[in-house]
Assembly symmetry: C2
Homo-oligomer: 265 residues x 2
């Protein structure tokens, strides 16, 4: 990603992009995409632009989510959030630029390598999971649903869209690049959905433990809805289901197993 | 576009999207794309998704540009701007959703019709013109350059990126869909660039005439930099150049001639 950004002249916008993307993060989504693609022996040259694209989309959502009109977060990954460091206007453009760049990188890759039809399928897939019926739909629920009257069903709808969508897209993209059979694609989709749900429940548990009580009351949170004990049980259940989905379909990948197991606490 | 939006469940976000996109606008960019594609006898089924995509990208930029941290505009097309009607958080998500949906629509079209490689080329092209080196780069200059010390060169750099980029992309996309020769593509790019510049200079003249003096001092404006007389001369010059670019290359399209001539005042 550093190499991608170095194509551009230095400007406050490009500084804000570097600050937002290159100062940490677990890179969970690109690792998932690359690990799935590796399992199908896809060349890194083909999978890497899509892994970068997904990470840029994830990072745009964080920059916009931190804005005062959304979560109003002053810090991200131990650094001042983008709008704190560069101003609200630049942070808005930073998110817009990251989302636009994601598609430029993904489409650009397809100009030179591999099957254009498969890659346009991927862009369609990823924009769908990132959009109104996916991640953005989840963000909408996050700001419009009152945390107090949230049922467990609605909570699941919310975290499925907000977090599991893009994580599922990461796994599916790797599988589609690898020309996976429909059985493998189905099993990996189930794996992705379950680790996506586990990922958000784990995040909610960590938030609670870090005593961010103020935030929890403002935004929907699994622990608030289900209680701490049930949240831990659900976390465990989704990790187990994700691993079972791999095993039952004979998908043996140490990387994918690790990316699920690491969510246990 | 109404048909596209009707796919989604009704929500505050989808209401805000309809409010932002379906309440007017000149549809200049999609008309350019369709007229160019028509000239090359491209079927509407192929060109329409890209025309919609471009209009969605244009509309996302307006919604975000109206936000308080940017231009802080209360009205757009005679209606309350998106954030005035739906709140800042929903307006932010509306812009994000429109940009994401643009790529979903464009990629989705390519799944079923025509040549996937050409269409991925278009997505690459459009995301480039909409991004850091195009429209978003222009927005950045708009908010970071002081209108008072703006030279004519920097003004041109600004309006070329902010406005002419997406207008050029509209014309080029129609030509690429039509498998235009490299001479035609070059001539149409020149046509698009010139009407793009004319479009913004005309807008700046109209703004000045409507006595929006307060805004002019806050944001760069052609009239402020060149004076009213020169702005009118430049407007005329760019329209003439755009028409000449068609004529010199034997491109006879009443629609494209009209879309240039209508900018005269």
């Amino acid at each position: 990603m550093d190499r991608i950004f170095s194509r551009f002249d230095s400007s406050p916008l490009v500084k804000a992009i570097r600050h937002s993307v290159l100062t940490g993060g677990k890179r969970y989504r690109p690792l998932l995409l690359l690990s799935t693609a590796d399992y199908f022996k896809v060349e890194r040259e083909e999978s890497l632009p899509f892994a970068c694209g997904l990470e840029l989309i994830h990072n745009y959502s964080l920059v916009h989510d931190d804005l005062p009109s959304m979560d109003n977060d002053d810090f991200r990954r131990g650094q001042p959030s983008c709008h704190k460091a560069f101003g609200e206007d630049i942070a808005l453009l930073t998110g817009d630029a990251l989302l636009t760049l994601a598609f430029e990188i993904m489409a650009g890759s397809a100009l030179h390598h591999g099957n254009a039809a498969v890659k346009i399928d991927l862009i369609h897939e990823i924009s769908g999971f990132a959009g109104i019926q996916g991640m953005i739909g989840g963000q909408l629920l996050d700001i419009t649903v009152s945390p107090k009257d949230l049922s467990e069903d609605r909570l699941y709808d919310l975290i499925e869209k907000k977090t599991a969508s893009l994580i599922t897209a990461a796994v599916r993209s790797g599988a589609i690049l690898g020309n996976a059979s429909s059985e493998d694609l189905k099993a990996l989709t189930e794996y992705g959905r379950n680790i996506g749900l586990a990922f958000q429940i784990r995040d909610d548990i960590l938030d609670t433990e870090q005593d961010q009580a103020a935030n929890i009351l403002l935004r929907p949170n699994s622990v608030l809805v289900m209680g701490l004990e049930k949240a831990h049980a659900k976390l465990k259940e989704h990790i187990t289901k994700s691993l079972r989905s791999l095993k039952n379909n004979g998908i043996k990948s140490e990387e994918l197993e690790y990316l699920a197991s690491m969510l246990a606490m």
